[in-house]
């Protein structure tokens, strides 16, 4: 065994140039895979976090049917009961009740449509990033005329802090027109078009007054202690809440688009990765064959003096294995260092908007253990598989034929 190892090691360095090229071939493939995975993971993380950590929370509770049309009449009458349940549940990290009503939003200069969110400032700050998203003015502080609008909407309505805004909407149940006056107290920017262009935030009590519902809400957003949404505890909370005409869904169901992007990218990564390795394998097979051809005479001699076919097979496989190891080291070094660099600095991908999330900043890549354990294992297995074909060839060499071939 030791001899085979020694032999294999020395053999691969007989033609250093070729070995280096082969190592680069496999190594770069591994590095490419690691990086591609890191970039994709980074993008997905940004997309998921932009959804779960900005406004939407990790799960939401609504009246069944509310999400179809945002029907203002479908409110949670026993919102306070549910909130009490949530406060007592230690699996739930935070929750925030919201009144949601669509209406017309006008300034002295322009009018636009939008969604009015009535929230409790303190509770909302535990669930969403609204407070951090404020770029001008102040966050909600309980004054009834406060309103927070998105920067794009502020520009559209041509207003700034202190200016007047009139919200016109229809009350719940009666459908009567209701109007209310507000003054812009803060401007926010999330970097998500849908929120920035369409949402305004007011204090929940004022919203309830305008919409004419007592103590009710349309939506309760939740955050959990466990960041893995598929954890059993989290799912248990949701199924407990999913009763009668109440619906509790996690972000994967609320944003099926992002989920489908997730699946698609996983799927396409597998495909691209397989193709890449298939192509690289061709190069590996070629390389091994070249190294065997050069030694045909030598193998002929070896077999003539009594080496068994199996031993030649082992030798070549071993050489392949060693090359795979070296390549993995190379690939991990390249992929890992680039990945690390981009994890810190972010990788500039240009201006991208996918599923409503603006990805125009440099996206930090995400390195994970998988990339450094699973991928190299695949590489080694694939390289060994590729080496089988040439190895069998070497094992089957006929000494008399081989000895005739003088180089």
């Amino acid at each position: 065994m030791m001899l085979t190892y020694k032999l294999a090691l020395r053999n691969i360095f007989r033609n250093t140039r070729r070995t280096i090229l082969t190592v680069m071939l496999i190594g770069f493939s591994l590095a490419a895979l690691i990086l591609a995975d890191a970039v994709t993971s980074g993008m997905i993380k940004v997309m998921v976090e932009s959804v779960t950590k900005t406004i939407s929370g990790e799960a939401q509770i609504h009246k069944k049917g509310f999400r179809e049309n945002l029907d203002i009449d479908l409110y949670l009458e026993n919102s306070s009961t549910i909130e009490g349940q949530l406060a007592a549940d230690d699996r739930v990290k935070a929750y925030s009740p919201r009144v949601i009503a669509a209406g017309m939003i006008s300034s002295s200069y322009n009018v636009s449509s939008g969604a009015v969110y009535g929230v409790d400032g303190e509770q909302e700050a535990t669930v969403s990033k609204l407070k951090e998203a404020i770029v001008e003015g102040e966050y909600l502080s309980d004054s009834p005329t406060e309103i927070l609008i998105g920067r794009p909407m502020a520009e559209l309505l041509e207003i700034g802090l202190g200016d007047r805004i009139v919200i016109t909407l229809a009350e719940a149940d009666t459908g009567e027109l209701s109007q209310a006056l507000f003054r812009v107290s803060g401007v926010f920017f999330f970097g998500m078009r849908e929120f920035d262009e369409n949402f305004v935030f007011v204090n929940i009590d004022k919203a309830r007054e305008v919409v004419n519902i007592r103590n009710a809400s349309h939506e309760i957003a939740l955050l959990f202690h466990d960041s893995d949404i598929s954890a059993t505890d989290t799912q248990a909370v949701l199924s407990e809440l999913n009763q009668g005409d109440i619906e509790a869904l996690d972000w994967r169901s609320l944003f099926p688009e992002i989920t489908s992007v997730l699946e698609m990218s996983g799927f396409s990564s597998v495909i691209i990765g397989s193709i890449l390795f298939l192509l690289a394998s061709l190069g590996v097979i070629n390389s091994m064959f070249m190294s065997i051809y050069e030694r045909i005479y030598e193998f002929g001699v070896a077999k003539a003096i009594g080496t068994k076919p199996r031993q030649l097979l082992q030798l070549i496989l071993f050489e392949g294995f060693l090359i795979a190891l070296i390549s993995c080291a190379f690939g991990i070094a390249v992929g890992g260092s680039l990945g690390l660099y981009y994890e810190i600095n972010g990788i500039p991908l240009g201006e991208f908007e996918f599923a409503g999330v603006a990805l125009s900043n440099a996206i930090p890549t995400v390195l994970s253990i998988n990339q450094f354990t699973h991928f190299p294992i695949y590489v080694i297995l694939l390289t060994l598989t590729a080496t089988l074909y040439p190895a069998r060839f070497a094992a089957k060499i006929v000494p008399s034929e081989a000895l005739q071939k003088s180089l």
């Binding site: 071939l25 009018v111 449509s113 688009e257 061709l282 190069g283 991908l349 996918f354």
Partner: protein, 405 residues
């Protein structure tokens, strides 16, 4: 001629090696073709869909209405605009539109809607609106006997308001003069589907919308359909030059976020392909170097008898390029049926994905010359570049090498 024969035969001296190398290049080529076809095809498909459905190839607005819509940023000289459009060789048809946010009421139900006023005839020539009527009849300019105009409404709004054909609809909005706009319409049709972009839209006949919003006949937007969509940039420039007072925007500007995302995505794809082909050609380099180094004696003889170094370099370049070309030919044969399938059937995605504001549901391939040609040039270029170093190495072999055994 002999040089070509020489190159061709040299390739097949080591059949297995050449076949393996060729296969890897074929694989690289096919991958490029597939990726390119899918990207180009899917985007072209989506662009065609939204420009034909409602955006048009080009839109005309006053000032910066596109980015900062305000009800009184309207086009005040219809005659001038329409004169230019009627004369333009690029324009097939156009339509006029007005927009406003509003509240819709029916019975006890209400819901916010987007109000869009369009000229029924112009609109049906320019966009797909007439084809999207699911229930009822496409509307016209005429009021009914009671003096009410007909409106067409999107599915979501119709469902929220529980409306049927013939029901009354009350619309509330804000007029251009600041007054509250308030009118009754009769539902003449329900258009589109739940997920279409206009599912919360109410369409009104243009004249009636003008009155409703106190616009005095002025519109916010002209949308143009061109005879040939490929002319969009030339057409924009031509029309803008003739209408300096207005903003003429091609669809790339109208859907700027989508366009930028598309560009970024395409570039990313190209980069990925580059990396893959680069890796493939590391293997090719290995092969070419090997084949050069084992012919040192032969090159020595060639140089001894008087071949110039350049001749030998060209020989190596020819060999590699020829092999690459053969690989591409095989690749084309393999790719044609696949691309054909993609172009005609394609892959439907379970959920539409929002790309820069546009819903993407179908991945379709493009079947065109450029889809096959560009990757070919790519592979051949790589082949030439990869062969240069070994080629120079071969050319530098000393003629004295010929003497060794």
């Amino acid at each position: 001629m002999l040089m070509w024969k020489l190159a061709f035969r040299n390739i097949f001296r080591q059949r297995r090696r050449s076949i393996l190398t060729a296969l890897s290049m074929t694989g690289g080529y096919v991958l490029c073709v597939l990726s390119f076809s899918m990207t180009e095809g899917s985007y072209s498909n989506v662009i065609k869909i939204f420009t034909e459905d409602h955006t048009g190839d080009i839109q005309i607005h006053s000032e910066d209405y596109l980015t900062r819509p305000k009800i009184h940023k309207n086009i005040d000289d219809n005659a001038a605009v329409e004169r230019v459009l009627n004369q333009s060789e690029f324009v097939r048809s156009y339509t006029k539109r007005v927009f406003s946010p509003g509240l819709a009421y029916a019975g006890n139900e209400s819901t916010p809607v987007k109000i869009v006023g369009v000229d029924p005839d112009l609109e049906s020539n320019t966009s797909r609106l007439a084809d999207k009527v699911k229930q009822g009849v496409y509307f016209n300019n005429q009021p009914n006997d009671d003096g009410y105009f007909k409106a067409m409404i999107g599915v979501r709004a119709a469902t929220s308001l529980q409306l049927n054909i013939g029901d009354e609809l009350i619309l509330i909005s804000q007029g251009a003069d600041g007054s509250i706009a308030n009118d009754i319409y009769i539902i003449g049709a329900i258009v589109g589907s739940r997920s279409s972009w206009d599912s919360s839209t109410v369409y009104l006949p243009l004249n009636s919308a003008h009155d409703f919003l106190t616009l005095h006949g002025k519109s916010h937007q002209y949308a143009l359909a061109l005879n040939d969509s490929a002319d969009v940039i030339a057409a924009t420039q031509s029309i803008q030059a003739q209408l300096p007072a207005f903003s003429v925007s091609p669809w790339m500007v109208v859907e700027e976020t989508f366009y930028k995302t598309m560009q970024a995505d395409k570039e990313g794809n190209l980069f990925g392909l580059f990396i893959i082909v680069f890796i493939v050609f590391i293997g090719v380099l290995n092969t070419v170097l090997m084949s050069v180094l084992e012919r040192t004696h032969e090159f020595g003889v060639l140089k001894a008898i008087g071949s110039r170094p350049a001749t030998i370099t060209v020989m190596i370049l020819l060999e590699t390029t020829l092999l690459a070309f053969l690989s591409v030919v095989v690749g084309i044969l393999l790719a044609i049926p696949i691309i054909y399938w993609f172009a005609n059937v394609g892959i439907a995605m379970p959920e539409p994905v929002d790309v820069g504001g546009i819903a993407f549901q179908h991945m379709k391939g493009e079947f065109s010359l450029q889809v096959f040609l560009l990757p070919m040039l790519f592979i051949l270029s790589f082949a030439i570049v990869v062969a240069i170093l070994p080629g120079i190495r071969a050319a530098r072999v000393l003629p004295t090498e010929a003497m060794r055994g």
